[in-house]
């Protein structure tokens, strides 16, 4: 069995009297993308800060690549890549200089920064200072920065937050490529569609606890309705009909609909991750 790239067991963390994590446990395998879904304050960023050595482990256990995480551990940090929610880039330096600087911190002197910039669509702006970059360009550069050391584990905190569809798609493609090449990815997001599209598994985090963790398909099966919605045009207007797939006459009903000249559309009534989250936690992702 492949050893997990990230292992977290009964992890607790408090900021003073405020409990941010109340005993969470999960694993992420190499090549797997785990989506962390939860509203603000759920504990997503705290988890990432602990796993990247920004916060100490107080209670519980956190391992990355089989190494216990402690604050500022170069052994762990040399093998991880982090994309922060805030755009913390050196604005006076160009995109290329930013990447080369961070590469040197990993001991990489021969980084092909231009190839990396090309990968995120910034090759044309390689020499421009970051101060002149748009928000989307900065986010793409943040993603490129997280990849300078070809990390085995990627921590991505809201990597597409507030981006235009084109930039978001570019970043999602990159995330899939990294996972495809064997990197374990821990992705936090508010965006249920992104989580659904990218994640092999998703974890629902709320008030410092994981309420559910499974593949999106399983969650939908467990919490959604197995039914399709059929829309038919009839003489007196448009009629919608819900056909439960578990019903004894489901086949007949669908067959009749398919044969009908008035058939307009057939949609599944599968639950969305957001509706499942609300059902499980009792609160919205936007909170």
């Amino acid at each position: 069995m492949t050893e997990a790239a990230i292992q977290v067991q009964d992890l607790h963390f408090s900021y003073g009297r405020t409990e941010a994590l109340r005993g969470i446990s999960f694993e992420v395998a190499p090549g797997e993308i785990l989506g962390f879904l939860g509203p603000n304050g759920a504990g997503k960023s705290t988890t990432i800060k602990i796993l990247t050595g920004q916060l100490p482990v107080k209670t519980g256990r956190a391992q990355v690549l089989g190494i216990d995480v402690t604050a500022d551990d170069p052994q762990v940090q040399s093998q991880i890549g982090v994309c922060f929610e805030e755009k913390n880039l050196y604005e006076a330096l160009s995109g290329r200089e930013n990447l080369r600087f961070f590469a040197r911190l990993f001991g990489i002197r021969d980084l092909d920064a231009d190839a990396l910039l090309r990968q995120v669509g910034l090759a044309e702006r390689a020499r421009d200072p970051v101060a002149k970059y748009s928000k989307g360009m900065r986010q793409r550069l943040m993603m490129a920065r997280a990849l300078v050391n070809r990390p085995k584990v990627l921590f991505l905190d809201e990597p597409t937050d507030g981006l235009d569809p084109v930039s978001s798609r570019a970043i999602r493609t990159l995330i899939k490529e990294e996972a495809g090449s064997g990197a374990a990815v821990l992705l936090t997001t508010h965006d249920m569609f992104e989580a659904d599209e990218l994640s092999d598994r998703v974890a629902f985090l709320n008030e410092g606890r994981i309420h559910a963790i499974d593949t999106p398909e399983n969650l939908k099966l467990q919490h959604g309705r197995r039914a399709v919605k059929v829309r038919m045009r009839e003489s007196d207007g448009v009629r919608e009909q819900s056909v439960p797939l578990d019903a004894a006459d489901a086949g007949e009903q669908l067959g009749a609909a398919l044969r009908s000249p008035g058939l307009m559309t057939i949609h599944t009534e599968e639950a969305t991750l957001e509706s499942i989250f609300i059902e499980i936690t009792g609160r919205s992702l936007e909170g």
Binding site: S78, V82, N88, E97, F102, L105, G107
Partner: protein
Amino acid sequence: MSRPVSRWAIVRAIVRKDLVEYARDRLWLFLTVLVLVVVTVLFWVLPDDVNESIVLGVSGLEDPAAVLGGPAAEDGLEVVPFPSGADLEQVVAGEADAWQTDGGTLVIDGDSDQAPPEGARRVDVPIGIAFPEGFPAATAAGEETGVAVYVDGSVPEELRTAMAGLVRELAFQVAGHPLPVEVPAQGFVVLGEDRVGSQQSPREGFRPLFVFMVLMMELFAMASLISKEIQERTVTAVLVTPAGVADVLAAKGIAGALSGLAQAVVVLAAIDSLRVHPPLLLTLLLLGSVMVAGTAMLAGSMGRDFMSTLFWGMAFLVPLLVPALAALFPGTASPWVRALPSYPLIRGLVDVQSNGAGWADTLPQLGILAAWCAALFTAGWLVLRRRVQAR
């Protein structure tokens, strides 16, 4: 793929990045160049010499130069005869100007449109002695006389007392009597360098202040960069790489000290002050730069934005500047000034540049400065580390 990286390679990368950032910060770059230019220009504009002689106006004696010439010249006195006591009073009071011509001293009223004769030399007369008519005869006859000594408000008390002594001595001299006491033999023992004839000029006096001003600019610039790095959380991005807090702090200290030292050396070279004991001066400046880097770490850690960083920079700057200002004035600095961290640096610079002190003479200042450097750098390190860890 990353490979094991040495601490030094990490520190070097951060130092290089910091210096590039500093060089691209237009505000600080402009201010740095401005200070370097202003300091250099000011230095060369300031007077390089000091008039050590005292001009003494005398009225009521027929040939005052003959009477006063011998002892006066030895005491650095330039004797200027005046036609009357009233003229002398006017000139010392600044109500009239005195012009020396071949025919004697010409006094022109300040409100007058009269032009001075060609070739005349204007003389400033801060002290005047007005002898009454027939002073030699009256003194010789043992009659009671009165002598007026006029002094400008800026004349120090010691000089006024000396003038009173001179008048008494003259009275005996013009009366042809010996002094009533046997004057003891006087031996002057000059401690340190004898600066008679080579007093410290304004240009020389300002030299340590100028060097210190450049270091102080460095304090603001580094504090601002440190504060910005914390506020914009770029330091967080650095700390999730193999770089540790100690690497970041070491790099900040090195970048600050290097930058401060380079600028101080440039300004010293520009004001032609690196000729005397260059290695000793560079050692003093290096310690000064480290001290400033430590102070910048403190100010940068305390600043929450540009304005508060400026505030903290000023809060540290003002006390550090006091010894440099005190060096402008002759005399021994007060004990509280000597207790300030920048005092040994300023004292060392003055000793080396003005008095030609060497390593042995400067050792106490170097020791105290090194101790202050260690204290301020450690304080800056601890405060900045706490701030970075709490990011």
